[in-house]
Every structure is written in structure tokens, then in C-alpha cells.
């Protein structure tokens, strides 16, 4: 992580993390099977509106985390590549400076925070997000009484006209913080797991504090396979992807999937 940042000479734009905490995620693409458990977990945890058929057909489906699927190769040697995509919590976020009312801003923990109450719905942030990680509530949610039963009480139900996106399950971060604070202890590595991380059966997603050099996520982030999606835009994301290990790489065409975001551009 550090090395990557030095390579880009972006140290001046590092966020103020006065409390020594910068939440980040490592996504090991070599482990991802595209099972979508993270997607389901995220929907359940964060009270995301159900993507019913008509909403999907309107191209207004909401997935705070989604599995991008890329096909590679010619039949019969076809491979599917998966790329879990969600808010990258950029240190240099394109969505933040365009909001006229500070509805989205960077907090001290490196999180890109969305304040629902401030959002007036200009949708500029969503236009400016290169990862398409922001979702707009085009409709008011029509929840029946029994449907309210399965809502997570720790997460706001958004009204129409509001932008929303992955929060790194900030409610879980706060809960762990409180639990540790009551026990008079420091927050430990591995205390916090967003719903997607918890649900991931293959340990693809690893969450933690990137500022803490001993954390699992910081160590993984220095893996030589690391890269960030659309790195050339200078968004300086807090989500690091580990490239898929391809044993036949030398025999086939250049690596695809998310890696194309970087390599494809440079070779073009």
C-alpha cells in the first residue's frame, strides 16, 4: 500500500487520519468464485431496496456491492473472471468536491461518508464516480408491515431522492468501537467485518485498518499482485485488488478483467 502510494507521488493528498485509522479492503481475485454471497449479505445488512424485475428493467437496480463478470477467451476455452465492485472509498474521491452541500465527505477514518439528511439529489456525485458505485433512490420504498420486520434497525431506510452507496458497514465499525470502549480496550485487527466480508466463503474480502502495519489487510495490500481499479484516474482508493493468478498466462492473451483497467489503457 505504502509502496504503491509512493510510486504515484500522491503522499501530499493523503487524508488526515489523526486517529491513526484508515479503513480499507483487500480483494483477492484469485479466491473469488463469483458466488454473490457478499451481494446478498449486503442487501440484508444495509436495508437496500429489493431489485424487483421492473426496477432492473428500468436500469435502476441497487447493489452496493456487485460482482462484475468478464468473459475471456474463445469457445471452448472460455473463462469467467469476477471482480467484486463497490465504493472504493477513494482518498482523492471524485464524488466529494462536486457535492454542493457536503452530503458526501471524507471522515477522519478514511471513509467516504454519505449523509442522507444533507443529500438534495443533484446526482453529480454519481456522474462523477468512475466505479458506478453510487445508487439513487428513484422511487419511494413501499414497505409493508411484515417487510419492516426484516429491516436492520441500525441502518437508515432511505427515502426517494437520496443517493446511497457502500458505507463499509459503518454501523458495524461503530458497534465494535463501542464494545471495545466499554471494555476499556483498543480496537483490534479483525474486530470489524462488514457484511460482505463476513459472508465471503472463500476469504476473498479482507477488511481492516490500512494505517496499522501489522494488520492483515495492510500486509496483504503489499502483495506483489496488488493493483487498484482505474488507478490512472488518481482516485487513490482504499480498496486494493490482488490480481488473479493465471497459470497459463504466458500462453493466452493479456490478462483481462479488472486488470484491463490499467494494462489495457497503457497498451492502447
Amino acid at each position: 500500500m505504502r509502496q504503491a502510494a509512493e510510486g504515484q507521488e500522491q503522499d501530499t493528498s493523503k487524508p488526515v487520519t489523526s486517529i491513526g485509522r484508515r479503513w480499507g479492503m483487500v480483494v483477492d481475485l484469485d479466491r473469488c468464485t463469483g458466488c454473490q454471497a457478499c451481494v446478498v449479505a449486503c442487501h440484508a445488512e444495509n436495508n437496500i431496496a429489493l431489485n424487483l424485475e421492473d426496477v432492473v428493467l428500468q436500469q435502476r437496480a441497487m447493489n452496493w456491492i456487485r460482482i462484475e463478470r468478464y468473459w475471456e477467451g474463445e469457445y471452448p476455452n472460455v473463462k469467467a473472471r469476477f471482480l467484486p465492485m463497490f465504493c472504493q472509498h477513494c482518498n482523492n474521491a471524485p464524488c466529494e468536491p462536486v457535492c454542493p452541500v457536503y452530503a458526501t465527505y471524507h471522515n477522519r477514518e478514511g471513509l467516504n461518508v454519505q449523509v442522507y439528511n444533507r443529500c438534495i439529489g443533484t446526482r453529480y456525485c454519481a456522474n462523477n464516480c468512475p466505479y458506478h458505485a453510487r445508487f439513487f433512490n428513484f422511487w419511494e420504498r413501499d414497505l409493508e408491515e411484515e417487510q419492516r420486520e426484516y429491516l436492520n434497525p441500525n441502518v437508515t431506510v432511505r427515502t426517494k431522492g437520496i443517493m446511497e452507496k457502500c458505507t463499509f458497514c459503518v454501523q458495524r465499525i461503530r458497534k465494535s468501537e463501542w464494545e471495545r470502549r466499554h471494555a476499556d480496550e483498543e480496537l483490534q485487527d479483525g474486530d470489524v467485518a462488514p457484511a460482505c466480508v463476513q459472508a465471503c466463503p472463500t476469504d476473498t474480502l479482507v477488511f481492516g485498518n490500512l494505517e496499522d502495519e501489522n494488520s492483515r489487510v495492510a500486509k496483504l495490500a503489499e502483495n506483489k499482485r496488488h493493483y487498484r481499479v482505474l488507478e490512472n484516474l488518481g482516485t487513490d482508493t482504499n480498496v486494493i485488488y490482488l490480481k488473479k493468478v493465471d497459470p497459463h498466462a504466458s500462453e493466452t492473451a493479456p490478462a483481462h478483467a479488472g486488470a484491463a483497467a490499467n494494462s489495457g489503457r497503457n497498451s492502447a
Binding site: R60, A61, M85, V98, G121, N127, P130, H132, W139, K160
Partner: protein, 455 residues
């Protein structure tokens, strides 16, 4: 100016006050039609506010659509007012006199309409207004001045304030005239509005100074407003929007659509209020010449935009431009470039066509269709293809609500202009008379040479 017929001040008064003092049948017909269309817009807006932005065609990749297109379009139209009055006033172009007020008033009304679309665009107007008026400083959350969406309203409200002052200052002597010509409540209304104008030398001097001062002050605003509107796009990270030439390109485009709209307005006024002696073919001739330059400048910028995207080898921008230049957008592109340059410019080249009011009306409407399409082509295809590797590519088709609101915007400006023409003289009577006073004829041998004499 050269073809100005000899008219006495009494005749001028009678002709130009006619629209205020008499109400022909066609006025009521127009009023009904426009109010019907505005009513349609009110219904659409009610649906929008009730059910949310779901009733539009906007979707996940294409977050901005007809509302923003319409917003940019009407801000563009508003440029005509200052273009015509401020620049022509400062350069003492005589032919400006009959058209300045209509152009300025159109500026005000189209700016108001544009501002309305920003509010509609957010889908929850009360939220926008709640944040903006009054701004909630108490909680210490200030507007983020890094956001172009803060610059944008600042620029527009500056421009709106300036334009209203501009219109009003030039209206004062005519309001005094209207006060003298009317009775009853209208007399009282004009009496209040004309601020005690008696037409003495000091007042005239002040008025002239105000006109010049406001012209000079509003010119920078005129350039900055559409530059800042273009920065809504230029300052973003979206390939196809993040383009360095957007500011001058948008300003030139705005002048093109705005001046064309003034032509349409002049043609309609001329027949509606029988102003044949005041809005004459020579005026269309002059504006036609101006439009040739503006249209060609616009074409140059558009060419640069396309060429840079295609030749820069920037994959993302190339992808966007490729979409803009392939069907179905190719047809829109061809229609746009035909409407804006290939059709009107050759027509405007001929003096005979420039002096034909029917042809000028049609070409000006065609240019505005083209300019609307231009904004569409900048906004919608670009959002469909943000970044080639990623992620959600999509389509956009406007819903009936959006289409109704676009129709509403045109009807709204029309209705406001119609009502304005009923309440205030649409041609500045005092400026017209001033032009007559300064007009002289010189004789050189047998030739009678018309000229304008200033102090």
C-alpha cells in the same frame, strides 16, 4: 436605421403603446394555448414531485437527462439579452434600438425557467429550497465552494439580478409614458413603477450613465455565466465532459442559440403587434451577418472537440465520441450539424434571404433545434459510456413527464413574454425616439445620405 420611415413622436407613441392599450383577439387565443401547455407542465411537475424521479427516464448510468439539457439550453438562450443590448449599446450600434428590450426580457424569463429546471432536476424541490433559502449556517455546514454546483447558482443569480436591473432601468421612461396614457389602477401601478420619472435633463443624464454602466458591468457576467455552466461538465471526471475548451465553446453556442431566439422573437413581435415600421428587414439583415460569424465559430469549436477526442488516443474519450458518432446518435449528430451550420449559414450568406423575415424565422428555429440537440449529445451519450472497462453501460429514453416539462419550458417563456408585452411596451419607446432625434440626412450632390449624429 437607414430605412427608418419618417414618424412623428405622436405616431411612435401610438404604435408602440398599442400592444399595452389594446387587446386583440389573437392575444387571448395565444394566452389560452400557452396557459394550457403550462398547465400540462404543472401536472407533470406534480407527478414528479409526488412519485419521485422514478417517473423520468433517468437511470443508473444516465443520471442527468432532459432537465439538465433544458437548463443548459435556456441559460444559453438567455445570452442573447446581454449580447444584443450590452455589446450593441457599448458599441453604439444604432440598429439595436427596437430589439433590446425584448432580448433583455427574454434573458430574464429564460433564466427563471432555467433555474426552475435545476430545482425540478433534484426531484425534491422542497429539499433544495430548504437548503438554499435560507441557508442553514447555524449548524456550521457551509456550501462546498469546490463544487461547480455552487458556482453555477451564484453565476446565474448574479446574471439574473443584473438582467432585471438592466431591463428595469431602461423601462423607466416608458413606464412614465404608460402612466400618462392610462387611467385607474394601471395608472397607479405605472406611477409607482416609474419611480417619479418626469423626464428632466438630470434624470436623462442619470439614465444614460446607468445604461452604460450596467452594460459594462454585465459583460463579464455574460461571459462567465455560460463558462461556469460548462464547468458543471468540464470540472467533472467524466470522459467526454472533462474537456478544456468547454467554456468558450459553450459561450459561443449560447450566443448562437440566443441570438437565433431573438430573431424568432422579433419576427413574432413584428407580425403580432404590427411593428413593421420599427422592426425592419435591415435589422434581420444585421443579425443575420452576426449569426454567420457565431455559427462558424461554434462549428470550429465543435470540430476541435470531436478531433481531440478522436485523435488523442485516450481510450475513454474515444469510446464516448465513437458512441456519439455511430447510429442512432449519428443521425442526431448529422441533424444537429445541418441545423446549426450547413443549412442556415449558406442561407444567411445571401442578403435577399437575410431580409426575408419568413426565412429568418425558420432558420432561427432550426438553429435552436440544433442547439438543443447539441446539449443532448453532450450530456446523454457521455453518461452512457463512462470509462470503457467499467461497468454499467446503459441507455436513456425520456419519459412523457420529461417531454411535457420541456414543452412547458417553451410555453412558460412564451407566456411570460406575452404577459410582459401586455403590461409593458415591448419596444423601448424612448430609445426609438432618441434614434429619430439623432437621425440626419446629408446631401452630397443629388445623393441623400442618411447618418446618425451624436452630440
Amino acid at each position: 436605421m437607414h430605412e427608418r420611415p419618417r414618424l412623428t413622436p405622436i405616431q411612435i407613441n401610438r404604435d408602440l403603446m398599442r400592444s399595452v392599450l389594446e387587446t386583440p383577439l389573437v392575444f387571448y387565443v395565444l394566452l389560452l394555448i400557452l396557459m394550457g401547455l403550462v398547465g400540462l407542465g404543472v401536472v407533470a411537475a406534480t407527478l414528479l414531485v409526488t412519485y419521485g424521479l422514478g417517473v423520468t427516464g433517468l437511470n443508473h448510468p444516465v443520471f442527468w437527462g432532459f432537465f439538465i439539457i433544458n437548463f443548459v439550453f435556456w441559460v444559453g438562450i438567455s445570452h442573447a439579452g446581454t449580447m444584443i443590448s450590452a455589446i450593441l449599446r457599448l458599441t453604439a450600434a444604432e440598429w439595436r434600438r427596437p430589439v433590446v428590450r425584448a432580448a433583455e426580457v427574454m434573458t430574464v424569463f429564460s433564466l427563471l425557467t432555467a433555474a426552475l429546471f435545476v430545482v425540478l432536476h433534484t426531484g425534491r424541490p422542497w429539499r433544495t429550497l430548504y437548503w438554499a433559502f435560507p441557508y442553514d449556517f447555524v449548524r456550521g455546514i457551509w456550501p462546498d465552494v469546490r463544487s461547480p454546483l455552487v458556482w453555477d447558482p451564484s453565476a446565474i443569480f448574479t446574471y439574473l439580478t443584473g438582467s432585471i436591473l438592466f431591463v428595469y432601468a431602461a423601462l423607466i421612461p416608458d413606464l412614465a409614458l404608460a402612466r400618462d396614457k392610462t387611467t385607474g389602477w394601471r395608472r397607479s401601478l405605472y406611477g409607482v413603477l416609474c419611480l417619479g420619472w418626469r423626464g428632466n435633463a438630470r434624470q436623462w443624464k442619470l439614465l444614460n450613465a446607468t445604461g452604460l454602466l450596467l452594460s459594462a458591468l454585465i459583460l463579464p457576467v455574460f461571459v462567465s455565466v455560460h463558462s461556469i455552466v460548462s464547468w458543471d461538465f468540464g470540472m467533472s471526471l467524466v470522459p467526454g465532459w472533462h474537456v478544456h475548451i468547454f467554456a468558450p465553446y459553450f459561450v459561443v453556442g449560447a450566443v448562437l442559440s440566443g441570438v437565433a431566439a431573438v430573431i424568432a422573437l422579433m419576427a413574432v413581435m413584428r407580425s403580432l403587434f404590427r411593428l413593421h415600421d420599427y422592426i425592419r428587414p435591415e435589422h434581420f439583415d444585421m443579425i443575420g451577418r452576426l449569426l454567420i460569424v457565431v455559427a462558424l465559430a461554434w462549428a470550429y469549436f465543435y470540430f476541435i472537440d470531436v478531433v481531440f477526442a478522436l485523435l488523442s488516443k485516450e481510450e475513454a474519450e474515444y469510446e464516448v465520441m465513437k458512441l456519439r458518432l455511430s447510429p442512432p446518435y449519428l443521425y442526431l449528430f448529422l441533424l444537429m450539424i445541418t441545423c446549426n451550420v450547413f443549412l442556415p449559414v449558406p442561407i444567411w450568406m445571401f442578403r435577399r434571404f437575410r431580409r426575408n423575415i419568413g426565412i429568418m424565422l425558420i432558420t432561427s428555429l432550426v438553429v435552436n433545434i440544433g442547439m438543443w440537440l447539441e446539449r443532448f449529445l453532450i450530456i446523454v451519450p457521455t453518461l452512457q459510456r463512462r470509462h470503457p472497462d467499467a461497468f454499467a453501460w446503459g441507455d436513456y429514453s425520456a419519459s412523457l413527464v420529461e417531454i411535457s416539462l420541456v414543452i412547458f419550458s417553451f410555453a412558460n417563456v412564451g407566456l411570460l413574454l406575452l404577459l410582459f408585452s401586455k403590461i409593458f411596451p415591448v419596444i423601448p419607446i424612448w430609445e426609438e425616439k432618441e434614434g429619430h432625434i439623432w437621425k440626419r440626412e446629408f446631401r452630397i450632390g443629388k445623393l441623400r445620405l442618411p447618418a446618425i449624429v451624436r452630440e
